[in-house]
């Protein structure tokens, strides 16, 4: 089954477009995994898994199609069915149900008309609260249809009709939700900043803070700012796991679960922090411990890294690479996060040594397939400045270069003095020219004229010479 899917036209196309395709089975089971999620993200995740894992493709697509049938997002259902038809043409779920789709579209259309009509009548009545609710209903409706930008617009229109802070905060959270669904991370960040700014004290604050902090982490992760993401995730309060739905959204189910926070936060921290920071801020962090307990292998990896057992740490992470590739938010960043952890491990590993054999390095750090040999990888790291070392290809050694601070200081001083000296000379030349009233002016001849002036003047001095001397 798996091999059939791998050779299907759909995955061949994915490969051609350089998309990630995972052929090995992941460690998780689809059924329990996906049951943690609800709402839009459930579909999105199923779609992601289906389109990236050859092993789970059929199951994921079947589940997704069944799910989509319940909802109002006709377009998504059609896309799903079309893609699934390329993977398993004979499957009954893949049959495009045109009649159903038309019927559904008509219903959706009617619903939209109704809502718009209602909104219009509210507007005529000039009752703020009604207009707000009308817009909100419209926003919810667009969310259900998967038309995120329209939903975003509808929620935005609520702003001027919000009468209480709670309304305003709910609206902003709704906006956060729609931007996350569109994966527009910069927009997410700006909306989150507004939530943060509008927040009141007390009950409201404790309720919203974990959500804001988790979403901030997600936005940073989406932007590739691993360090900021790590900081946001590890300081997310464990209350997130139990927080009540805010703005009608169950965040820990509809956006990201506690397990996700543990995985995202742990990986980002591994990628961006050094050992002491990891020890103090991640392992010693009471808030984050609650999350880490959900994903013990992440905890183990961080522990191993802190205890300088880099190869074991990498091994653990490597075992879960497929899982993370199938995570909708993590998938694009896995390679870069893993790469960073690996380089950091190599750098940390090499610090106490003055000299290590290349073979030892190769056994400690198994190649990941990115580079042909360990030499190549080390060479790249040295060239881009992450590792301060030299390679001896003859005796196959990695050598830490000797330092001579006294010599370096002298050499630096000299080159700096020369640079300043030269800069000063340039300034003085300019000053002299200004004092003499020299300046290149606009009207005094264009490019053409002055380019030839050099050769002309030399030529003129040649020509003039003979005549003046009377030798011709």
């Amino acid at each position: 089954m798996a091999s059939d899917a791998a050779d299907s036209p759909f995955f061949q196309k994915q490969r051609q477009e350089d998309a990630i395709v995972v052929t090995d089975p992941p460690k998780f089971d689809l059924e329990p995994y996906i049951s943690n999620y609800e709402g839009y993200t459930r579909l999105d995740r199923l779609h992601h898994i289906g389109s990236h894992s050859t092993y789970l493709a059929a199951d994921a697509y079947r589940a997704a199609i069944a799910e989509a049938r319940q909802g109002q997002n006709v377009q998504l259902l059609l896309t799903l069915q079309e893609e699934f038809a390329q993977i398993a043409p004979g499957d009954p779920a893949a049959n495009i149900d045109t009649a159903w789709a038309e019927e559904k579209t008509r219903k959706v259309r009617a619903e939209l008309d109704k809502l718009e009509h209602e909104l219009k009548s509210y507007k005529n009545n000039l009752i703020k609260e009604s207009i707000r609710m009308g817009n909100e209903d419209l926003g919810h409706f667009f969310c259900a249809c998967g038309d995120w930008s329209a939903a975003h617009k509808a929620y935005m229109r609520m702003r001027e009709h919000c009468t209480s802070n709670k309304h305003l905060a709910d609206m902003t959270l709704r906006l956060v939700y729609t931007t996350i669904a569109q994966k527009m991370w910069l927009g997410v960040q700006s909306h989150l900043a507004k939530v943060d700014g509008a927040q009141r004290k007390g009950d409201e604050k404790t309720k919203r803070e974990p959500i804001v902090s988790a979403c901030t982490g997600l936005a940073h992760l989406g932007n590739g700012d691993f360090r900021d993401a790590a900081m946001a995730f590890i300081y997310t309060s464990p209350a997130f796991l139990t927080v009540e739905p805010a703005a009608g959204i169950t965040w820990q189910k509809e956006v990201l679960t506690g397990n996700d926070i543990a995985v995202y936060g742990g990986l980002c921290a591994l990628a961006s922090m050094d050992r002491t920071e990891l020890q103090v801020q991640v392992l010693g962090n009471n808030d984050f411990r609650n999350f880490l307990e959900l994903e013990p292998h992440i905890r183990r990896a961080i522990n191993l890294f802190c205890n300088s057992k880099y190869s074991a740490c990498l091994e653990v992470l490597e075992g879960y690479r497929n899982d993370y590739l199938l995570d909708v938010y993590l998938s694009n960043h896995v390679a870069s996060i893993y790469g960073r952890i690996r380089t950091k491990s190599i750098v940390q590993y090499f610090i106490p040594f003055s000299c290590v054999t290349l073979d030892e390095m190769a056994t400690k750090f198994q190649l990941t397939g990115e580079f042909a040999t360990i030499e190549d990888e080390l060479e790249t790291m040295i060239n881009n400045g992450t590792l301060d070392a030299r390679i001896d290809l003859v005796d196959r050694l990695l050598i830490s270069p000797p330092t001579n601070p006294r010599y370096t200081v002298h050499a630096d001083a000299l080159s700096m003095a020369e640079r300043y000296d030269h800069t000063l000379r340039l300034r003085l030349t300019r000053l002299n020219m200004l004092a003499a009233g020299f300046e290149i002016k606009q009207d005094k001849g264009g490019f053409r004229e002055s380019t030839s002036s050099l050769s002309e003047s030399i030529g003129a001095s040649f020509r003039g010479m003979g005549q003046r001397m009377g030798f011709n």
């Binding site: 060239n383 390679i391 001579n404 010599y407 000299l414 003095a417 003085l428 290149i440 606009q442």
Partner: protein, 500 residues
């Protein structure tokens, strides 16, 4: 008559006891110059060639002014009368001219600037007319150095000299002059600050060349901006000719920072093109244009020199050697047309060198065969190439033979900068630092001179006057507003002062 002339010409004796005071000397010298320039030319021409000829009696070192005037008149008449035999190098007048230019008294020549300049022009003209322009280079150079040991005040002679050197391809001959930084341009010094001041007379021992070479002293024709730029560009080319790329780079930067009102000129474009290439040779990149350059002008020249920037980008990609070759081949016409083909070839060669020298940041030892397979040349060729690099001081490394036959020759870099052929001892470094200190102090002196020249310029004096007026005006107004003695016209001038 000849005897009479001789008495007049010998009338000025710089060693005379009554001229020991600098002010006296200054006065006497200026009067003497004025006096003898009024004597008609015929007097000088009498007795030429005879035993008691004025030129034989006068000593070029002691009576430099008189000698210079006589010589100038003689040469002018020889040219007029088409009496070329005397002028031919090796013959009497030529020899006298060369002797004079190499031995005149520099202090006296400060007063006879135009004579000095004309004699230099003559020697150049004669040498050119005889078809041996190179002969004039050495006398001109020694004349320049004798007059002003720093040769740092720009004169029209500088430009003529470098043009001559470029025409005759005697690049090395130009280097001693080019090495001296142009610290002053001839400026208009008001006579009040020039004459009759004890410590700033032209003959003072402390006088710097910026003080006695000015717009009225006659040492230089009127200098225009184009002349200065041309000097810098030609100078840079001369440095390129002797492969002193760092100096060429510095000289070209002088062109790039020229004050510009939002426009560039062609010489600047030329300079920029060369600068991009030379920067690659010196720094391996080209992106730090001096900050004082005019942004608008730089934008213009950059737009016109895209091909060169593409070349530099290709050069910086050391892992992609064929790309540079492709770029070079694509733009062959451009390089040839701009006269930069040689420099471009140098760039290609230099990329190999940079590639190898960059290996030292990654490897401590690498078999030559590995490099060869990366570069795509044979091991033997590469070995010779590497040997040359080590010999010429590009690499702090050694080539060694390995015991293992399959490895072959190995390039081993010295990791410690105090070892290997390029190592510098602490003493050498200290010496270099001392030299730099010396240079910086000289420069500080030159800055002070420039500052002084600015402070006596007409514009600055007026500005100070206005400032003083404004300051006292404000104070006065606060104290007694009714007592303000200024009328409307002068308040207007104050407004102008604000705009400055």
């Amino acid at each position: 008559m000849a005897a009479e002339l001789l008495t007049i010409l010998l009338g000025f004796q710089p060693d005379a006891p009554e001229l020991q005071q600098r002010r006296e000397y200054d006065k006497a010298a200026r009067e003497f110059v004025l006096h003898i320039s009024n004597i008609s030319n015929n007097h000088y021409l009498k007795g030429a060639g005879a035993a008691e000829d004025v030129l034989n009696v006068l000593d070029p070192t002691a009576n430099s002014i008189a000698y210079a005037v006589t010589l100038r008149v003689r040469i002018a008449s020889a040219i007029d009368r088409k009496n070329h035999e005397q002028l031919r190098p090796g013959n009497s007048l030529w020899n006298k001219l060369v002797l004079f230019l190499e031995s005149f008294d520099p202090v006296q020549m400060r007063y006879a600037g135009s004579e000095w300049r004309k004699l230099i022009e003559y020697i150049e003209q004669i040498a050119r007319a005889m078809g041996t322009p190179a002969l004039a280079i050495a006398p001109i150079r020694s004349a320049m150095i004798r007059l002003d040991p720093t040769t740092g005040t720009f004169t029209s002679v500088h430009l003529r000299f470098i043009q001559l050197c470029m025409e005759t391809r005697s690049y090395a001959a130009a280097v001693p002059i080019l090495d001296d930084y142009i610290h002053s341009l001839p400026s208009a010094i008001p006579p009040a600050a020039r004459d009759n001041l004890e410590y700033s007379v032209a003959c003072a021992d402390t006088a710097t060349s910026g003080e006695f070479i000015h717009t009225k002293s006659g040492h230089s024709e009127k200098v225009a901006l184009v002349d200065v730029i041309e000097y810098y560009v030609l100078g840079a080319m001369a440095y390129l000719g002797v492969r002193q790329f760092k100096h060429a780079h510095e000289l070209l930067e002088h062109v790039l920072i020229i004050p510009a009102a939002g426009v560039a000129n062609g010489l600047m474009l030329e300079a920029y093109k060369k600068w991009v290439l030379v920067s690659c040779l010196v720094n391996k990149s080209y992106n730090s244009i001096p900050r004082t350059a005019n942004g608008q002008a730089v934008k213009q020249i950059r737009a016109a020199a895209k091909a060169y920037e593409a070349l530099a980008d290709a050069f910086s990609q050391l892992n992609n050697l064929p790309k540079l070759r492709a770029q070079v081949a694509a733009g062959t016409d451009i390089w040839i047309e701009d006269g930069n083909a040689g420099l471009v070839d140098e760039l290609v060669e230099h990329q190999h060198r940079s590639y190898v020298s960059r290996l030292s940041r990654t490897f401590s030892a690498i078999p030559v065969s590995n490099i060869a397979s990366n570069v795509g040349s044979s091991v033997d060729e590469l070995t010779t190439f590497l040997e040359a690099l080590i010999r010429d001081g590009f690499l702090n490394a050694r080539l060694e033979r390995n015991d293992k036959p399959e490895v072959g020759a190995v390039l081993r870099f010295y990791l410690d900068p105090t070892q290997g052929p390029l190592a510098k001892t602490e003493k050498q470094q200290q010496q270099a630092l001392f030299e730099q200190t010396e240079r910086t102090n000289t420069l500080a002196g030159q800055v002070k001179d420039a500052d002084y020249r600015l402070s006596i310029s007409k514009e600055y004096v007026e500005y100070v006057k206005r400032q003083a007026k404004k300051a006292s005006g404000q104070g006065g107004n606060a104290a007694d507003p009714m007592d303000a003695p200024w009328d409307d016209a002068e308040i207007e001038e104050d407004i102008m002062g604000d705009l400055r």
